[in-house]
Each structure stands twice: as C-alpha cells, then as structure tokens.
Amino acid sequence: MTDNRTIALVAGVLALLTAATAVGQFLRRHPDRGLDPAAVGTFNSRLRGWWILCTVLAAAYWLGTTATVVLFGFVSFWALREFITLTPTRKGDHRALFWVFFAFTPLHYVLVGLDRYDVFSVFLPVYATLFVLARVAFAGDYKRFLERTAKIQAGLVVCVYCLSFAPALLQLQLPGSEGNSDGNFRLLFFLILLVQFADCMQYVWSRMLGQHLVAPTVSSNRTWEGLLGSATSTSLLAAALWWAAPPFQLWQATLAGFVVAVMGFAGGMTMSAIKRDRGVKDYGTLVVGHGGVLDRVDSMCFAAPVFYHITLLVTGIKP
C-alpha cells in the first residue's frame, strides 16, 4: 500500500531528525564550543517537540483518516478552551459557551469526518454565529453584547473552523490515488512541515537581519526581514519537496510555501495582539502546567484554510 514517495519522505525526515539530534546532543555534551548554552537548549527542546509531532503524525497515519480527524478535534477543543479562558466572558455567555464546546465543536468535526464540505464550510461561520448571537440575547444580558459575541465567534472560527481544514485535506480526491490516502497524508505533512519551518525561519531571519519591526506595540521580535526571509526560505523548501506533495507542480508547491509562510506569520501576529491586550506572554503561562496548545497551532490555524483552498484552486480538484 505504502508507495515509494511516502517511504522516501519518512526516511528523509527520520534521517534529518536523527542527524539533528546527534548534533544537538554533541553540542550539549561539549559546552566549550563557544555556543550559547541557552540556544543549544532551545534547539534541543525544539527537536524534542519535532520528535513528538512526527510520532503523533505517524500514529495518526497508521490509525487512518478518522483517527486523525478526531485528533485534530481534540486539539481544536483544547485551543478553544485556552482562547475562551483568556477572554473575559460574562455569566450571560455561559449557556452559549456550553453549546459551543459540547455541540458545535464536536458536530463540526463529525461533518469534517463525513467529508461533508457543503455543510461544514458554512456550519460554524453561519449557523453557529446566528446561534451564539441569539442564545446570548435570550440570556438577557445586553452589556457589550457585540463585543462578547464577537469574542466567542472569533475563538470558534480560529481554533475550530480554520484548524479543521488541515485534517480536511485527507478527504480530497487526489488524482491518480483511488482509495489510497497516502497522498493525502503526504499533503497534510507537507502543510505541517511548511508551517513549522516558516515559524523557525521567521525567528532565525528576525534574529540575524531583523531591523524593522512590523508592529512594535504588538510583537517585539517579528520583523519585515523575518517575514520576507521566512517566505523566501519556505518557498524554497516547498520547491525542493514538491515531489512529496501529490497534486502540485513545482510552481504550485512554491506558491503554497510562500502563502503558508505569510499566513503563519499573520496568525502569530494576531495571537500576539490578543495576548498583549490580555497582558500575558503566552497561553501556556496563563494556567501553569499547561503547554499552551494555542501557542503551537496559531500559525497552523491561519495557514490551513488558505492552503486547502489553494490546493483546490490550482489543481481543479472538487471538494
């Protein structure tokens, strides 16, 4: 079942991770190399995150499409939990929130799992919006009504709706892969890889060349140089890996890389703005002991729907 390109991709990723881990461990054991130990520590912890991510992805691939959709469903649920915890809500929102968490979020992922693009593409942005507005009105608390409903709506769209386009990639009928989802998993992995790589590159380029902050009041380390550098390097990586992403030609993969980098940057900026407004550094420190899921998936939330629709547009696949 497993085809050659999947094997090549898995082997490549394993080789890269193993090599990087070896280098990281070597640097950790030899602190006299003149490298900043803190930077080595960051590098190693990033690598650990990568190992975990790849293991989870491999498990999802092995368990199949449905399991992957469920996995993303839990990630959305947790991210939404962090989002709403951080957002001040009033008692009048309680019932609406109950429905948002226990009805709309699971139902949306059920629709994604059933491959009902026609329904799930409007379910949250239209029907959940109407429901939240009406339910909060019924609760009888009109104070800052639009502000409160907008917060719930924003959380639902960013954490649930947008993120769900990543597992929705698994449902696409890719040309020449009848009944085999290997290509879809490669496409999903391609997206995740690009998003993560763009995040790293943004950081690296901002540190190396960063001069002009995009918005100093929102983020003190995101620069225009970081954005440009990240978009360029991510496009190059996408071009180098275009063979792994089934429906794309070279230029299409490059375009996807560029757009993913820009959208991921936008997602990071947006979450920074929300965090600045609430006076916290990251979602993880909001409640001690939690990893901060939203910090990890913010770029993905913004990149996934655009990547999905670009895939449809440039390849002419019907959802």
Partner: protein, 224 residues
C-alpha cells in the same frame, strides 16, 4: 516537591480509613479524573508540600465544584484521608448527590439552616475529623457572587482555637466560577488553577479578627 509515590511509600502512622466498597472506590477515582479533566485544573503547591498529616484546607468559595476539584487535586493517598465539609441542603438532595457525598467523598454535611448550641458546626467537624482525617472548608460560608474573596466567618478561628496543632493550609481557586457559575448546572470546560500555600497556625493570643484577616490574606496571596 513530593511525588505521589513518595507519599504512598511513607511508613504509615497512617490511621485506618473506613473501608469502602470497590464500586465507591472506582467511582471516586473516576470522579476525581473527570473533575480534573473538566475543570482543566492545574495544581500548584507554593512553598508547601502534599502531606498525610492532619490538616484543614481552607479555600475561597466560587462554585459547587470547589470541594470536588480540591479533593480531586490532592494525591490519592491524601485524598482518601480528606473529607470535604459541605452544605447539607445541597448535597443531601437527590439519591445521586447523597450517595456521592456520603459514600464517595465521605463528606461531612453541615446543616446551615438549623444550627444548635450543643451541636455547633465546628464541633461536628472536629468530631468527624477525629485524630487523623483532614478537612476541606470554605470559611466564606457561601459562594461569592462577584468572584471576589469575601470576609471569612469565624468558624475557621474556632477550629484553630480548639485544635491549635492542626496545619491550616490556604487554597486559592482560580477561574472555577466560570466553569460552573452560581445558578448553572452544566459546566463549560475552561481551565482553572488550584494553588496550595504554606500552612499557618493560630498565634498565641491572636485576636479573632486579626487571625481571620491573616487567613484571608494568605488565600489572596496565592492569586498573584
């Protein structure tokens, strides 16, 4: 910090706990896990450690879930020694609640409406605690509406005065009032935080109001 394993392995001067049926034990474990999951509670011990010695945990009161979540946040060996003090009018209503209160948490139910001179709540609590069990109490008496920590009632002072050797451990509950606000019965799974602080004792000759204010400040200090 002590891991739960350390506590379990500690040689027991541990007293015998009333034997419970396997069903009640399983229900207790399941409920503790469910409460931790639903309330997304992270547990912090600040300048304090979990211990099986006899203690009184006192916390701000924001939600019906408070006693359950504090109880669930304790390591299992300590949880089995700890009895929440809860309102009889709420916890004896209906078969399920009564079963949970009596068999699973082994709660001490206090009648808030009918307080007798010879059976004061403090006496009942201390009698039920005996020489080994710890208690979870809410000195504000009832749930605060605003989410602010209200003034403490004098019960905590009399507990401390009658049993001055007990450790009084302040506990701060954050965000649980949004998980299950007053007057609601379905929870919303937000993230909450339970902080345990360093124990305090009643000082010799300390006045009632001074002590209650100090205890309240100890809870508030955990809020950061």
């Amino acid at each position: 910090m002590l891991s739960p394993a350390d506590i379990r392995d500690r040689p027991p001067e541990r007293p015998t706990v009333r034997a419970r049926s396997p069903l009640c034990q399983a229900a207790g474990l399941g409920l503790a896990a469910l409460a931790r999951l639903l309330a997304g509670s992270s547990v912090r011990w600040i300048a304090s450690q979990p211990d099986t010695c006899q203690r009184i945990y006192f916390a701000n009161h924001t939600s019906h879930l408070d006693a359950l979540v504090i109880w669930a946040s304790l390591p299992r060996a300590i949880r089995e020694l700890t009895r929440p003090v809860a309102a009889k009018d709420y916890w004896s209503r209906g078969i399920v609640r009564r079963w949970l209160a009596q068999e699973v948490f082994d709660a001490i139910l206090i009648d808030r409406t009918d307080i007798k001179v010879h059976q004061s709540p403090v006496d009942i609590m201390l009698r039920e605690a005996g020489s080994a069990r710890s208690l979870i109490v809410f000195p504000e008496g009832s749930r605060s509406v605003s989410g602010e920590v209200g003034e403490f009632k004098s019960g905590l002072y009399y507990l401390a005065k009658k049993r001055p050797e007990l450790e009084l451990v302040p506990v701060h509950i954050d965000n649980l009032n949004r998980v299950l606000p007053r007057g609601e019965f379905l929870p919303v799974p937000l993230l909450s935080c339970i902080s345990f602080g360093p124990p305090l004792w009643l000082e010799r000759g300390e006045a009632k109001l001074d002590f209650l204010a100090r205890a309240r400040r100890a809870v508030l200090a955990l809020k950061e």
